[in-house]
């Protein structure tokens, strides 16, 4: 059994915690989040024949109330970079956090998740964003924590990239 630590990072209120909640059953109380800035969850999954256990470090969004603690990023084998598709500013924040991440753990696999895909009428990202990023070799996925669409794919995609 392979274990991997992954981080959920992104600006605050992009839906990181909702994605995790969609993905797995939560055992630990939500209050860790506001007090410690992190909540750890576990999700076993299969990539091909390989069993993997993901330890999800859901890290509180970087905002004026709480700074992101880079020590939480240490040892990550990969990360989900979460963007709120209806707020363009969160994309900029994600790029900034990606830099922070690379500083802390180096270049590791990641998935860019464009969340709130159910709110397409309020979509606020450049139309060519996805094709541009994919051209750079990034894995870009749309997801909706509300409907559940794309959630599994995002985690599975990251897992297979980490095991590659």
């Amino acid at each position: 059994m392979i274990q991997k630590k992954i981080c959920m990072i992104g600006a605050s209120a992009v839906g990181k915690t909702s994605l995790v909640a969609r993905y797995i059953r939560n055992d630990f109380s939500e209050k860790y989040h506001s007090s410690m800035g992190v909540k750890v969850d576990k999700k076993p999954l299969k990539v091909g024949d390989q069993e993997v256990e993901l330890m999800l470090w859901d890290i509180y969004g970087d905002d004026e109330f709480q700074k992101l603690r880079t020590s939480y990023l240490r040892g990550s084998a990969g990360y989900l970079l979460v963007v709120d598709g209806t707020r363009r500013s969160t994309l900029d924040k994600a790029m900034e956090l990606k830099g922070t991440m690379e500083q802390a753990v180096g270049v590791v696999p990641f998935v860019l998740v464009l969340n709130k895909a159910d709110l397409t009428e309020a979509w606020d990202l450049p139309a060519d964003l996805e094709t541009r990023m994919q051209a750079e070799g990034w894995l870009v996925l749309r997801s909706s924590a509300k409907t559940g669409a794309g959630v599994e794919d995002a985690f599975a995609g990251l897992a297979s990239r980490m095991l590659r």
């Binding site: 274990q3 410690m36 750890v40 969850d41 330890m55 603690r69 040892g75």
Partner: protein, 599 residues
């Protein structure tokens, strides 16, 4: 750079020349020659060294020379023992396979002590277990714990642990320091609560990071060493790549931290590179479990040496019960003996055998139907009648009283006739007609113990009645006088009356009765004088009795002097005349033996 010797040596060194130089033979030879000239002896040494490494025999002998020293130098390093362990294990296995006897012989001297030690420890453990079980099942403390368990809803075992354990390592986590991933996790036996060790591992790492970031000095390497929650404490030890977290209940001693550190060091020494290169695959780290399990240490509260208070209490209780049992069986035994004594004293009852078994008494014996009922005697004792089994065989007792009772039943005498029995003779006294007398004389001989039937009062029974009266009579005399002391008229009168009755009974029986009139003197004066004085006194009394009409008896005056004084030691008491009645025809006229007869 001298060249004259080059030709002679060149051909010998040629085989060692580089094959790359094939194309230009002379150039290569020259180069070799040049090298030889430049570094001649050193070159030889290099070749020798190379030979040393290439020749396995030489290499082995070289290494063998330094092997003991290097082992001594590295002896303290656990890595050496770990490296040697598999080889030694295999060597031992091979040796056992080849010839088990060799190893058995070698181990023989240590096996005995080892087994003894093991047995001693096992026994001590068992005793302690027993002690603790007793303590937990009977002691007042345990009742309190049970109540506490009921009240709090916690399992009883946990409450017991809470009160008896000094400390106990319940869980040990080994966590990868960089990723916070769980490497290995061990749990003590019977720890009911199960945690998700992976999650705990992650959160613990997050907490450590959080606390370290928040309160530690940046770059100082400060780290969380201890977390305390309720009755538990989490001790955290860290190494460059791993974190050891022990969840401990109670108050662990300082030494425990040292042993945790040692464990972590041991793990690092053995798995250092695996930890450093850890990519999430825990399989190669599975053997770490063996390192963690010894960390599940515990220590219980020291019991007072020796017997626990509860055990002592139980022993005292047993002693009290034994004491009570002993006391009551002793008391019961005494009651039984008392009953047997009463039975034996009872006329017409003979105990043949008796015994006590399991608290029940039994008695077998003979009983005259005319005797008192043994059950009535039993009811007068404190014995429980249900606990006494009796078997009485009927028999006829030859005691005078029973003979008289039987005679009365058989002969049916007129109411005014009295029957008495003495020395095999049944006497009938009172007004009787000749017909009854004849019939009675015939029937009486059928009664066991009756030899003869006579009309009249039995002399013996009269004597039995009168003898004490007469023999207790003491006539007193003044000092040195042959004259009755005044004031004894009443005694005299009674004496005369009793002697007349004896004379009448003797006459009725037609047998002679002798009365010894015995004179005594006090110890003053000569013995001869006293003898005469005492005889004179006896003679005087004899004369006076005859004068008062006591007839039909052989009155014999005796002078005993002062030698046989009465029991009373005062000199006044010795100036006496006393009496003794002798029935010559009876074999044993002694008054003592007679005393029991007339019941």
């Amino acid at each position: 750079m001298a060249e004259p010797t080059a030709d002679s040596e060149g051909s010998e060194a040629a085989p060692r020349a580089s094959p790359a130089a094939d194309g230009n033979g002379s150039a290569s030879d020259d180069l070799f020659e040049l090298r030889r000239l430049l570094m001649g002896p050193e070159h030889e040494r290099v070749l020798d060294l190379q030979d040393r490494f290439d020749d396995p025999v030489r290499l082995a002998s070289d290494v063998g020379r330094v092997l003991p020293e290097s082992l001594i130098l590295r002896g303290q390093d656990p890595a050496v023992s770990r490296a040697l362990a598999p080889a030694v294990e295999e060597a031992l296995q091979a040796s056992v396979r080849a010839n088990p006897q060799t190893l058995a012989d070698a181990l023989f001297p240590v096996m005995g002590p080892a087994i003894r030690k093991y047995l001693t420890e096992a026994l001590a453990g068992m005793l302690e277990g027993l002690n603790r079980a007793l303590e937990h099942s009977f002691s007042p403390a345990s009742l309190g714990w049970r109540w506490e368990a009921m009240r709090t809803g916690k399992p009883f075992a946990e409450i017991v642990l809470l009160h008896t354990v000094l400390y106990r390592v319940e869980q040990v986590f080994l966590i990868h320091r960089q990723t916070g991933l769980l490497l290995q996790h061990v749990t003590a036996e019977d720890i009911a609560e199960q945690v998700d060790a992976d999650m705990v591992s992650g959160m613990l790492t997050a907490i450590r990071d959080f606390v370290q970031d928040s309160f530690g000095k940046p770059g100082s390497g400060d780290s969380v060493e201890e977390l305390r929650v309720g009755e538990r404490v989490v001790w955290v030890e860290q190494s460059p790549h791993a974190i050891l977290a022990a969840v401990i209940r109670g108050a662990p001693p300082k030494d425990l931290r040292i042993s945790l550190q040692t464990t972590l060091e041991g793990i690092h020494a053995r798995f250092g590179s695996e930890l450093e290169e850890f990519q999430g695959d825990t399989a190669p780290l599975a053997p770490i479990r063996e390192y963690l399990e010894p960390c599940l240490l515990s220590q219980y509260r020291e019991k007072n040496q020796g017997i626990s208070p509860t055990l002592a209490g139980v022993l005292v209780l047993i002693a009290l019960l034994l004491g009570w049992w002993g006391f009551s069986s002793l008391r019961e035994g005494r009651r039984w003996a008392d009953y047997l004594h009463r039975l034996e004293a009872e006329p017409g009852v003979v105990v043949i055998s008796q015994g006590t078994r399991w608290g029940t008494h039994s008695v077998i014996g003979l009983r005259d139907p005319l005797s008192r009922d043994p059950l009535e005697i039993l009811s007068e004792t404190d014995l429980n009648p249900d606990k006494v089994v009796s078997r009485w065989e009927p028999y006829q007792a030859l005691l005078p009283r029973f003979i008289v009772l039987r005679a009365r039943a058989l002969l049916q005498p007129p109411p005014e006739v009295t029957l008495s029995f003495s020395n095999g003779v049944l006497y009938a006294r009172g007004p009787v007609d000749a017909a009854w007398l004849a019939e009675a004389g015939r029937l009486a001989k059928l009664l066991p113990g009756v030899i003869l039937f006579q009309r009249g009062e039995a002399l013996e029974s009269s004597l039995d009645r009168l003898r004490p009266e007469i023999e207790n009579c003491k006539l007193r005399f003044p000092s040195n006088e042959i004259q009755l002391q005044p004031g004894q008229e009443e005694i005299w009168q009674r004496l005369v009356t009793h002697l007349r009755e004896v004379a009448a009974a003797a006459a009725a029986a037609g047998r002679p009765v002798r009365v010894e009139v015995r004179g005594h003197a006090d110890s003053s004066g000569t013995s001869e004088g006293n003898l005469k004085l005492s005889l004179d006194r006896a003679t005087l009394v004899r004369e006076l009795l005859l004068a008062d009409g006591v007839a039909g008896l052989e009155l014999e005056a005796q002078g005993l002097g002062s030698q046989r004084a009465a029991a009373d030691r005062s000199s006044a008491a010795e100036r006496l005349v006393t009496f003794r009645i002798v029935l010559p025809s009876t074999k044993e006229p002694a008054p003592q033996s007679k005393a029991k007869e007339p019941r």
